[in-house]
Symmetry: D3
Subunit: 161 residues, 6 copies
Amino acid sequence: MKIAVCPGSFDPVTNGHLDIIARSSKMFDKVIVAVLRNSSKNSLFTIEERVELLKSTCAQYENVEVDSFSGLLIDFLKLKEANFIVKGLRAVSDFEYEMQMALMNSKLAPEIETIFLMTSNKYSFISSSLIKEVIKLGGDISGLVPAQAEEELIKRFNIGG
Amino acid sequence: MKIAVCPGSFDPVTNGHLDIIARSSKMFDKVIVAVLRNSSKNSLFTIEERVELLKSTCAQYENVEVDSFSGLLIDFLKLKEANFIVKGLRAVSDFEYEMQMALMNSKLAPEIETIFLMTSNKYSFISSSLIKEVIKLGGDISGLVPAQAEEELIKRFNIGG
Amino acid sequence: MKIAVCPGSFDPVTNGHLDIIARSSKMFDKVIVAVLRNSSKNSLFTIEERVELLKSTCAQYENVEVDSFSGLLIDFLKLKEANFIVKGLRAVSDFEYEMQMALMNSKLAPEIETIFLMTSNKYSFISSSLIKEVIKLGGDISGLVPAQAEEELIKRFNIGG
Amino acid sequence: MKIAVCPGSFDPVTNGHLDIIARSSKMFDKVIVAVLRNSSKNSLFTIEERVELLKSTCAQYENVEVDSFSGLLIDFLKLKEANFIVKGLRAVSDFEYEMQMALMNSKLAPEIETIFLMTSNKYSFISSSLIKEVIKLGGDISGLVPAQAEEELIKRFNIGG
Amino acid sequence: MKIAVCPGSFDPVTNGHLDIIARSSKMFDKVIVAVLRNSSKNSLFTIEERVELLKSTCAQYENVEVDSFSGLLIDFLKLKEANFIVKGLRAVSDFEYEMQMALMNSKLAPEIETIFLMTSNKYSFISSSLIKEVIKLGGDISGLVPAQAEEELIKRFNIGG
Amino acid sequence: MKIAVCPGSFDPVTNGHLDIIARSSKMFDKVIVAVLRNSSKNSLFTIEERVELLKSTCAQYENVEVDSFSGLLIDFLKLKEANFIVKGLRAVSDFEYEMQMALMNSKLAPEIETIFLMTSNKYSFISSSLIKEVIKLGGDISGLVPAQAEEELIKRFNIGG
């Protein structure tokens, strides 16, 4: 069985993330979307909220599971008996950072392979942090995040209340 | 009437900024230099000081106004009945960030256009943060910022006092 | 009067070109789309055919003219009393080439300004040469070039004949 | 069954290519290495020679086949009932070109997915054209291409003869 | 006498740093490895610990000295009668930042030259901060940092204790 | 004795080249400017003319010699007992190409070091091919190439005749 992990902060999940997850689900027998428990990063949603949002938006994909992890990503893959990491690439700056991480992970665990998908051009300018910045200032983010995430973001920023 | 906005932190204005403002003033009927009120960013000069510095250095350009804004940039443009955002590009890293912002702004307000000017090569290595770093450590920044900004920076860091 | 020139090979015009031309037409009093007469480059359409295609696709924009030029671009601008060059940017590789050209043109004619627009993300992967490659091999290019250009390309490659 | 195609010129196959092929063979049920029949490109080896070299160097991977194709890559995939294209990425310039091709292929055939692997850092500076340049001038390419390719290259350039 | 300075944070020294230092030592009569005293940056090792680690790992190079500095790098060079700054380049993002710094230093002190070496491809993915991240999470960093640095890192994170 | 080679096509020498040569001459005991005899490239000046132009423009630097070479660059260095290759970097695209060449040369001859200097920002947009394009079309290149090269270019294109 070929199992892949899609790691990320997902604070919150965007349509760009969902696009990568959906495409991954066609390539692998099982895809585990894995939220990184990174205490140092300032987040809007808790790990549990992010996992919940992902679960409700990924429910449509039968072979997609949602989980969270701390520690080294490759240790999480070993625990899950997964051999593939899937990442989306939007821009040159992504590329260089992700190349560094892929080479380091390949040094730490040569049997694990990182594969990259190009982000669909209609989502190329979306990131969780830009989404939060825009909605905080009152911008309209419909079409950029799943409906459930939009609803939560609107609640969180008390917009239109 | 064609009105453009040059947004930025301007903490403080550099000769690179002034070059972009001067060139913009030849393209548009009115140019509004707009200082972003961004509470989260650690700044050296207050918004009011930055606006004052810009006003005194831009006084030579008849069709240039200086203002400040908070909230979404596109909302400030709508308020001012402006249709154009002008940004300078120095390097590949600028390009990718600015492309993301331009695509997001075009999604939020398709009628607003972002235009880019290449920074003059003599100013390509200048940024407000590098200027502050250099003068803090005692370096000479003459020729890199307008005279008024240099004077204020010297006062601020109590150099030669 | 503010006049801009959109230079290029336009062999043939794509929807990416048209997008830049349409957006330029809102910024300037007059826009001159200028086909470069470059004898050394292997082209599919003659200069005259390219000018005709541009004329028919740009007819909808009242302030857009189509012309061709040889020699230095800045000399063509002087002849036309134009002060602005407009170029679209799709990628980092575009950016570096265009920055070099903009700096050279600014050295040759400091009064002429080059301005850049980010290509709309839905056209970011289109280029005339890729379009020709795809249609030559039998691919479907509808939606990527104007209808007139598609028709001419189909004729040229004798597709479906 | 998940079938992937690794397309390329392979003039000749390098250890960088082999690394990508070997890693792909672990991800898919079948991998088809496909030599592009591109008449316009000046090549050292004929298509048949390149296919032979690939066959002998890929013989160790049970689920790897070697073939050649002309026409659109996506048409070759449809013919072979393959759904995945695999490409290696070495550098930023690769990234931008490959992103353009992936977006075009996704427009032409949305059901086909392009996936990218980062070239192993020990092969990051190798390309078929640089290999040919080096051996033509008498440089030692051992360790950079498979033994069979090295042998053929030495014969071709009559080195040591 | 030709004297060069290799500046950096070295928190801690990696094999990538050592590679650049060793190669610099062959080019210059004397090489001074200079640890930046940067109070604002969150560091793992104190300046004194970093200097000690560098001294013990660089002891094998006769013409290499280790020191620390605060203030402008060019002032440290003048104090040491050094004329060259040596920096390693790993990636495009390094390149742009380093070009900015080199141009600024050349404006501040035209007689001082910055020279760049390409990081060896086997160390291209290593940085002090990634090393710290990996070991903190229990990953194996042998071969990526000198033995003394590995020992100190293991002590610091109390691994295997 | 530390000897460096500055290789290139120099068709013709520009002020950007001269800047790199002058700066190299301060770093090394001897600098050999080496014109590549590359039969496949379409050139304006013969090898002999290029060597002559370089000799007359470099006469002011006592420790600079001019020569030409064919074959592998590293073999030329061995012949000349040189250990260093010096290259100028202008842009990201230069960087990636030069990194590939430096890694290949380091594989072929580990004892030879390639060092990079950032092109001075006032010459960052100059290349021999752009210079030729500009003068061919009647543009003014004064200040971009040495006086002797300008004179030869003017003769060659029969300008003002």
